[in-house]
Amino acid sequence: MTATNPGTELQALVSRAEDLAHDVTLRAVREWKAAEPSRKAIGYMPVYVPREIIHAAGMLPVGVFGAGESVEIVKGDAFFQSYICHIPRSVLDLALRGALDCLDGMLFPSTCDVIRNLSGMWQMLFPQKYVHYIDLPQDPSPGLGGAFFAREMRQIADDLGRMGGTPVTDGRLRASIAAYNENRRLVEELYQLRRSQFWLAPASEVYVLLRAGNVLPVEEHTKLLAEYLTLARQSGRHPVDMARVAIRGCFCEQPPVDLIRTLERAGCTIVDDDWLIHSRWPRGSVDAQGDPFEALSSAFLYRSPSCPSLYRAHERKGASLVADAREARAEGVIFASASFCDPALLDQPMTMAAVKQAEIPCTAFLYAENTGQFQPIREQAGTFADAIKLS
């Protein structure tokens, strides 16, 4: 390996991540499959699926998180009324134009009624594909909710085995858990770096880096994260004066990358966020020793991040957001929700009240994954940043 300028290398790495993050037609997945004809890929939607199981079956888990602004919707709009959010339109549009043909199946987690119903639409429109709706547990006890979820995961493992994947043995699943633990460890390190020296790892870079993980094998993605961490630390980037903010929106429908850049340009550095929430789900590592299904299930029960799709009896609303914001030393909180997102928008007044009670300044706006106009958001974020810096 020849010595090169870390700045140039960093640029190349980020630009590769950017390509992968925008790879909504799944070129990378096609290439991965082409390398070995027996390979299979399984798509999943936000907010959380146990990717370890797909991995253990020897298949590629592929995050299908919408087409952002890159695709002009022609067919998808035919299926959804104007008051339904944007992500199902673009996902369906991609599928109907054949861009998702390389996926052998789709998993729809219990995120909301729209995604839930999309699972049924998928069954009707693509009857030859494997489709499974994953009911995430809402009961908090291991014997009830936990057992239910473990059974749900075993069911998926069996299904994938029958589809021609490698049978999911406990040993294989433990190995997959370990692989994802390593990935989550580096993601956490990245978030720590942002907290301590945000100028080294701007949110817009971190976002594309994590999103690249949607189409890469986990090992490759872990490597990408490690390289980035090294290069970012060596980048010699200088500290800048910006307002530290945490951003919350229950990101199922993803914000356009330009929206993140807009916030940064407006003077906000994002030191904590919940977009691509699956990449930090569960928080910390999953036990890779005992019964792996039980381990995944119990990690879900005890260490899931706060998310409006999940019912948490013992958690005070907004408490975890306030804790996260404090830990990240955020000076303000931005609530950015997708238009027509019922879970996020119904949650917002409660979490916002908690944030206000903690005397953390906050502001809120709506977006859609294909928002093309950032001028009003830039003004709002700029004013917010100024107000924080002045106070």
């Binding site: 299926f79 729209v114 119903n117 019922d342 119904l346």
Partner: protein
């Protein structure tokens, strides 16, 4: 389900009194020492609550009543003022706005704060948020019952067991705590036995729409019929009498070859038989019904009348399997069934009830119903060869109800059926 007093059938009068009585009991709950439990309509556990002498209160019903009483606009605005988005479910906002405005119920009496929020989380994610919001403002404890979704098109034994175990281990203990009474399975069985009888009569009434002319309107008329069974009365003597009486009235109409009675009087000639998917609009309920009956359109089957629970495939509450049958009831409610199943149900209604076509009423508030309806439309057309129509409004947000727009669509749709029919006759 309604306080509209213009229907003339005796059963209607009985139903009105039952509902008024219930609201009075609720209003007097605190002084009479009865505990109140808030819960939702789809897959509700009324018999279980009644077996503990608990009074159910159903916020969806309160919201729709507010809609019918023309109060919803003001309540919704109130909720939006305190930070709720225009984008979200109007039932929730209407309920929260009512709470903010003193929580005066449809009979003018103040409704009590609930002692427990029974979050029977069935077929709608918004329920979750709704009770979280109520928990914030009432401080009442929440008991969560997760009812798995029939994502694969059927309720598995594992799903049923999961629900039964939650009933035993979570819900019943919570009800014991709040009521101060022990779980009495014998009492529950008595209630369930009565439920099954009333359900037989209700099913008979709904299926009477197979007659020509149909003696009932299975959408606008039948939302009144399902009121007692889907709300606080399933398992009661009152419900038993109500459905018996209703059935006799309908039998009488069949004998006399009469159609349903509408708020504007007995319906005339039935020129169109329709199936309807989706909940009604409540703020302009009568106006919308009139758009149909004045054109001679009668609804012979609807999915909304299955929103509390589905009896199509023979399900009845079963005193011999009390918790199991309650679990099956929860699992089987309409919106807990996946889209292919829903489309098949509608197609079957079109065929079994000899409908001329079907209409999808899409409401902005309810993603659980609405997301995917455009595909259902296409699928049912393909399955039945009958034309589908599509129109949009909302449950209780009058800003989303455009009378001219809906009338235009309904008329256009009915004229299309007429034109196609006259072509068939001509050829």
């Amino acid at each position: 389900m309604s306080s509209i007093a213009t229907l003339k059938d005796p059963s209607q009068e009985r139903q009105k009194q039952m509902i008024a009585g219930h609201f009075t009991r609720l209003a007097k709950a605190k002084e009479s020492g009865r505990k109140v439990v808030s819960t939702f309509v789809p897959g509700n556990l009324t018999e279980l609550l009644l077996s503990f002498d608990l009074l159910p209160i159903l916020p969806e019903i309160n919201a729709l009543q507010s809609g019918m009483r023309q109060r919803s606009a003001e309540f919704i605005q109130k909720a939006e003022k305190i930070g709720h988005s225009e984008d979200v479910c109007a039932y929730v906002k209407c309920d929260l706005g009512m709470l903010e405005s003193g929580n005066v119920g449809p009979t003018g009496e103040v409704l009590p704060r609930p002692d427990l929020l029974l979050l029977s989380y069935t077929g709608c994610f918004t329920f979750l948020k709704w009770f979280e919001l109520l928990k914030e403002s009432t401080d009442a404890p929440v008991a969560m019952l997760q009812v798995p979704y029939q994502g694969g098109g059927r309720a598995t034994p594992e799903m049923r067991d999961y629900v039964v175990r939650q009933l035993r281990e979570v819900i019943i203990p919570a009800l014991e705590r709040v009521s101060g009474k022990k779980y009495d399975e014998d009492r529950l069985k008595e209630l369930l036995a009565r439920s099954a009888k009333a359900e037989d009569d209700l099913v008979w009434v709904l299926e009477s729409a197979k007659h020509r002319p149909s003696p009932i309107d299975a959408y606008f008329g039948a939302v009144y019929y399902v009121g007692p069974i889907f709300s606080a009365f399933r398992g009661t003597e009152d419900a038993l009498h109500y459905y018996r009486e209703l059935r006799e009235e309908v039998e009488d109409r069949i004998r006399r070859k009469e159609g349903p009675i509408t708020p504007d009087g007995p319906m005339g000639e039935q020129r169109f038989r329709l199936v309807v998917e989706g909940p009604p609009n409540w703020t302009s309920f009568r106006e919308m019904w009139k758009m149909f009956h004045s054109e001679g359109a009668v609804v012979v089957a609807s999915t909304y009348t299955k929103v509390g629970g589905v009896y199509d495939d023979g399900f009845r509450h079963d005193p011999n399997r009390p918790l199991e049958s309650l679990a099956e009831y929860c699992l089987g409610c309409y919106t807990n069934r996946n889209l292919p199943t829903r489309a098949s149900m509608i197609a079957r209604y079109v065929q079994d009830y000899h409908a001329d076509g079907f209409l999808v009423h899409s409401v902005k508030s309810c993603d659980s119903f609405s997301a995917g309806q455009l595909l259902i439309l296409r699928d049912v057309e393909a399955k039945t060869g009958k034309p589908g129509g599509f129109f949009e409004s909302d449950l209780v947000d009058p800003r989303y109800f455009s009378a001219a727009n809906i009338k235009n669509r309904v008329e256009s749709y009915l004229q299309m059926i007429e034109q196609r029919r006259s072509k068939v006759v001509a050829s």
